[in-house]
């Protein structure tokens, strides 16, 4: 169990023993920029920050974040914290959002395509990469926004699942823009920001418009951390840390090039 209310600022000391308390986190072992087994993702870094503030060490249960993730991890008691969930997610209790991001249009800079909206007529002539989730007839919002507008014939699908034996399966869509396999991709902001910044070929990211497509299709999302429903104490402790260490959280997100629609406190931003 995790006790709250007795946080104190961490003190660096060469002889300091590992904290006895444990912050149990469930995360995907193969999903940069969010998280991986080597703790290289921004969720890993923010989890570490929280643990430090709470005088604890992080222990992970690694689980691919797919159907069944919350049931098998957080809600099975295998861990107490999931470092990223949509703030309106019903299967967990959300902390206050720590970033708001958006799906983005991703193109090669040298194509000069200047796409800003799903209503731009140039889309009719492009091969458009989209992220596929295959969840009972629904898909990532760009797929719906584009099919509604009659662009089904231009869509090229990149499954979020792809090949889990390879690193970061959802990243294939960004490679596809860089290589020219597609002219445009519409991908979730944090994924696009991180992998685009690592491409040798310069890529351009632009938030999609509209932000909410009719009839009720959001393309922007607030992201929180998640705890078990009913675990208000841990949620409050996390909220308290995230507020106090706002600048450091923003700076981690900025380092990973997370496109943000909310204004960072200081020093952050895309």
């Amino acid at each position: 169990m995790f006790a709250t209310g007795s946080t104190r600022p961490s003190r660096e000391s060469a002889a300091k023993p590992a904290p006895a308390r444990v912050l149990r986190v469930c995360a995907d072992p193969n999903n940069l920029p969010f998280s991986n087994e080597r703790r290289e993702g921004f969720e890993n870094r923010i989890a570490e920050l929280i643990a430090r503030e709470l005088d604890s060490r992080v222990e992970y249960t690694w689980w691919a974040q797919r159907r069944g993730f919350f049931r098998n991890t957080l809600n099975a008691g295998r861990c107490d914290l999931v470092p990223g969930i949509p703030s309106s997610f019903e299967l967990a209790l959300a902390t206050r959002p720590y970033y708001r991001s958006t799906y983005v249009f991703v193109t090669r800079r040298d194509r000069n395509l200047h796409i800003e909206s799903f209503d731009d007529t140039v889309l009719a002539h492009l091969r458009i990469g989209v992220q596929l989730v295959g969840d009972d007839g629904t898909n990532t919002p760009p797929v719906h926004a584009l099919s509604r507008r009659g662009y089904a014939a231009q869509l090229v699908g990149y499954s979020l699942y792809d090949d889990y034996a390879r690193p970061n399966p959802p990243a294939r869509i960004i490679d596809a823009v860089a290589s020219g396999e597609v002219d445009l991709a519409v991908a979730w902001g944090p994924l696009a920001g991180y992998f685009a910044s690592r491409q040798p070929t310069p890529l351009v990211l632009r938030p999609v418009q509209p932000q909410i497509d009719l009839p009720f299709l959001p393309l922007i999302f607030d992201i929180s951390m998640g705890v078990r429903r009913g675990d208000g104490a841990l949620a409050a402790a996390v909220d308290s840390v995230m507020t106090r260490r706002r600048a450091e959280v923003d700076s981690i997100l900025a380092a990973y090039r997370v496109p943000r629609l909310d204004a960072p406190v200081a020093g952050g931003g895309t």
Binding site: D28, A64, L132, G134, T138, A153, S159, D163, P170, F221
Partner: protein, 617 residues
Amino acid sequence: MSDLRLVVRMKSVVVVGLGAGLVLACERSADIAPDASRADSAVAVAPTPDTAAVSDDDGQWVRSARDYAGTRFSGLTQINSNNVAALAPAWTFSTGVNRGQEAAPIVVGSTMYVVTPYPNILYALDLTRPGTTRWTYQPKPSSSAQGVACCDVVNRGAAYADGRVFINTLDAQTIAVDAETGKEIWRTRLGDINKGETMTMAPLVVKGKVLVGNSGGEFGVRGWLTALDARTGEIAWRAYHTGPDADVLIGERFKPFYPSDRGTDLGMKTWPPDMWKTGGGTAWGFISYDPELDLIYYGTANPGPWNPEARPGDNKWTSGIFARDPDDGQAVWFYQTSPHDLYDHDGINESILVDLEWQGATRKVLIHPGRTGYMYVIDRTSGQVLAAPPFGYITSATGVDLETGRIQPVAAKQPRTGIVVREICPASPGTKDWQPAAWSPQHRMVFVPHQNLCMDFEGVEANYIAGTPFVGANVKFYAGPGGWRGRFMAWDPVAGRAVWTIEERFPVWSGALVTAGDLAFYGTMDGWFKAIHATTGRELWRFKTGSGIIGQPVTYRGPDGKQYVAILAGVGGWSGAIVSADLDPRDSTAGGGFVNAMRDLKAATTKGGTLYVFALP
């Protein structure tokens, strides 16, 4: 076929199939008596009994549906409507795996073969010493990282042929094991679980080929049916279910009955460009075979992972039924039960091969209880739909047009993200899902386990996969009209209506068995195994097993000459995930919406994984 019974003395074995004129291992003297129930000594069967003779013998059960026609009918009469009330457990066996048990136990001679859900352990049970094993084979399928292969990881059973037992593993391998010794003979990897390519279906062996189909449509897996050489495990042919004709093995022999299935490369043209490459259309159901026509019949699953609006077109060859040549896989006809599927209505349900008196002539048909809620009677030589009356409550369509073969959808019931659409019936699991029906040639009726569920699409809810947020339809299932969620019925396919029905509280997710003893058997999700008077529908016997039943019941003659009925109990599968996967009943959209309809299941059953074998005392 022959009703000759098998009696063995001492170490000698004779198996005689009168029609086929086959004789095996005729060594020392043997007595052949017309009624095996008078046998008084334990028997042993030759190491490699000829499959044709063995499978014709009602005392055996060498493949899921017993025979190639898929009838699940047994001619055994020792247990019958007069004495079944005395049926009692003879022995049990714990599989050690407490997940959804969907398999049919396979019986060959004095050995029963049971394969479990992941990790797909294959047990060879010694029927001469009930409850003990001759051997255990552990395929050790790769586990993949946790969470990669979601959900209940069922297996629908093994198949026996020519001294070998064949199984599929979750990580998409087909394995041949020596039936006598349990030694692995070959294994062939057909997919990569890291890419979502899995296998759960029961193989069918036809003319020296092991026929297997894949699962995993939601992951963008491209569906196929593959034939492996039973001796070597090498791929003999593969038919994809989307893409160019060459991949789908559509050529000169392909003569679909309806115009909308005619044309070249429809597996590409009925999709937006390239979308067929991740088109789904997997084949995870049962296969049947007509040796006279020399055709196999099986269904394809729905298109995935694309949502319907992204994939305009009929999306061939998903959600339909193929007839193919087992030697080379060439397609002979196809019928699409759900063109441009909107509801997750796979076409994988079984096709039972029956010769019916139809409007004054004998027609060779197949009976396919559809996910769509229609009981298709299809001419199996041509693919023509002779009738498709509803066998459940349907709001999503008005019927099947027999001229064009096409289902007639109701526009108002088409789900669209963000729009509330209520009372879509049948819900995604359909009026019947994979759970197989049985056909009695004596009663001339189909015995159908199925469900009565409707669904609402109620706005959206936030979802999150691999760090990617999206809104998914908020889908809830609930009982259809009448309030009962399951039903078991006897259906007359010529009259096109039910003869008798039994309503059940939960969906009847088990398979059906029917016998010449005038009995039908099925199991309920809260663990009751029931014997029903096949003629009248009256319940004659029930037994409460340790966990909900979603397996396939079988019956066989044991080494002692007595008739036995066997069933695996262990709830799970899609409908039972709330128990086997311990879902939160408060989350009405968990389990793909099924949890809403199954909140009370947790109070009615717990997980399990036990084989029950019943006999008369």
